[in-house]
């Protein structure tokens, strides 16, 4: 029950924020959500909640670390956002002299999507089913796109388009990887391993190795696009420089983690299936390439 709450509360509060007209109420909702989320996460430190929703949601050791980071950073970001919005409103008034209504509408979308992003990220971390994991990562892309487009100018639009098209292709490849994983669960005996993490790790020995390798490659490239691994990173510098600073922080510190978590989950299965060497080599290869590209681009800046 408590596991559903930590996903549903930010989701509902995000939806409410989209339709609420009073500015102060919206801010109170944001702070309330951040405090509740952090409180629940803190509660998990002492009592690990049981898996709920027929095992679809659970907090495992790996997810627990990511959940703590996400919750703590969102808490800090919520307070910073209030200050940021107040300042950007002041600047907006000085430059554009927009009417009050024009100023308010983007703010509702911004605050609403911020909380929806928290909800989808929490769902990504808690989901124990690889299909649900994909849906959650896809949802994070959709709700974070309006956040990057907050400033509504040419440059932020370009960044948003790049983010959407490149991450969409990446996540589509992630879906292909997930389907490959599904195909890998067919075995000659006619039994199928369910797509839950626990069953996949326990029954990894029975998975078809060739399809599992294919699944790992597509998921590494697909979620790696969202994580910003080297050859697929091109959306990242633009989105980060054009998004409001608080979003830039949340993208780097929490959203990219969620994509990384998706890759780590498949790695867990590969380790259990005895093809750890294969996945580790790919990790090292992409890692070195990422460092190399970053190093080269420092000189180009």
């Amino acid at each position: 029950m408590i596991l559903q709450a930590i996903v549903v509360i930010p989701f509902l509060s995000g939806l409410v924020t989209l339709v609420v007209h009073q500015r102060n109420l919206r801010k109170i909702i944001l702070i309330f959500t951040a405090i509740v989320h952090l409180g629940l996460t803190f509660f998990f430190w002492f009592t690990r909640p049981p898996a709920s929703f027929h095992g679809w949601l659970a907090v495992d050791a790996l997810g627990f670390i990511f959940l703590s980071i996400t919750s703590l950073l969102f808490f800090a970001a919520a307070f910073y956002t209030l200050d940021y919005l107040a300042r950007s409103e002041q600047q907006g008034k000085d430059i554009h002299s927009l009417s009050a209504k024009e100023m308010l509408q983007p703010e509702a979308i911004f605050l609403g999507c911020l909380q929806l992003l928290l909800a989808t990220m929490t769902l990504t971390i808690l989901s124990q089913h690889v299909g649900l994991l994909w849906v959650a990562i896809e949802a994070t892309t959709l709700v974070s796109a309006p956040l990057i487009y907050f400033h509504k100018n040419e440059r932020s639009l370009e960044a948003t388009w790049k983010y959407l098209i490149i991450c969409s292709v990446g996540i589509a490849l992630g879906l292909l990887g997930t389907i490959f994983l599904d195909i890998a669960t067919f075995n000659t005996a006619g039994q199928r391993v369910p797509l839950f993490m626990r069953e996949l790790v326990n029954g990894a020995f029975f998975l078809q190795k060739d399809w599992l390798k294919g699944a790992f490659i597509f998921i590494l490239v697909g979620y790696g696009t969202k994580m910003g691994l080297a050859p697929m990173h091109t959306w990242l510098p633009d989105a980060h420089s054009e998004a409001p600073s608080v979003i830039s922080m949340l993208l780097s510190a929490t959203l990219l983690n969620c994509a990384f978590l998706g890759i780590l989950r498949i790695h867990q299965i590969c380790v259990a299936a005895g093809i750890a060497v294969f996945s580790q080599q790919l990790f090292i290869g992409f890692g070195i390439l990422s460092i190399f590209v970053a190093a080269v681009f420092i000189f180009n800046q």
Partner: protein, 209 residues
Amino acid sequence: MSYWADVIFVLIVVLNLGLLSSSRLGNCIRLVAIEGALLGLLPLLLQGGQPEGRTFVFALGSILVKGIILPLMLNWAVREANIFREVEPFIGYTVSMVIGVVLLIVSFWISARLVLPIEVSRLAVSTALFTILVGLFLIVSRKKAITQALSYLVMENGIFIFGTMAVALETSFMGIIIFHINRQFEHIDMDQLASLKDWHGTRHSEERT
């Protein structure tokens, strides 16, 4: 039943080749719509025996979304953006066609090595791979934002064959974004969206001269 599935797979290959060579946006959208509707029939044909009610709903839903709603939205975006002009690709149509044939050979070659553990048509894997590769190729070789969204849909169709579970959520979202891009840029040309390029090689050389 398997015979008709094979017919659909062959038709999809032909439609993909048509997409590679057609320049009119309206034509491209129509081809993608036909492809989406054909794909919607696949769940009915691939399932052996009497199809269940659930399969019917699924097939009807995908025909509705892929064959009717998304093409209508793309058509709407074309009208709003007012670009009926021919697309100007980075890679010409004749070359695209040749590359398409190469991609087809590659996907048949790969599919010979990937053995599906389930009993389906031998053409399924190669058609799916070919459709994904064509979609990816179109995304990188075409300039207009709307063609890129369309190519994304093609790629997703390929994944649909693999999984018959993809929901084209993103494309509807892109329709809205395209409209905004048009408002900001007057004409939809991704090539013009270059102010954030990492590499300013050409700009530097202009400054020097």
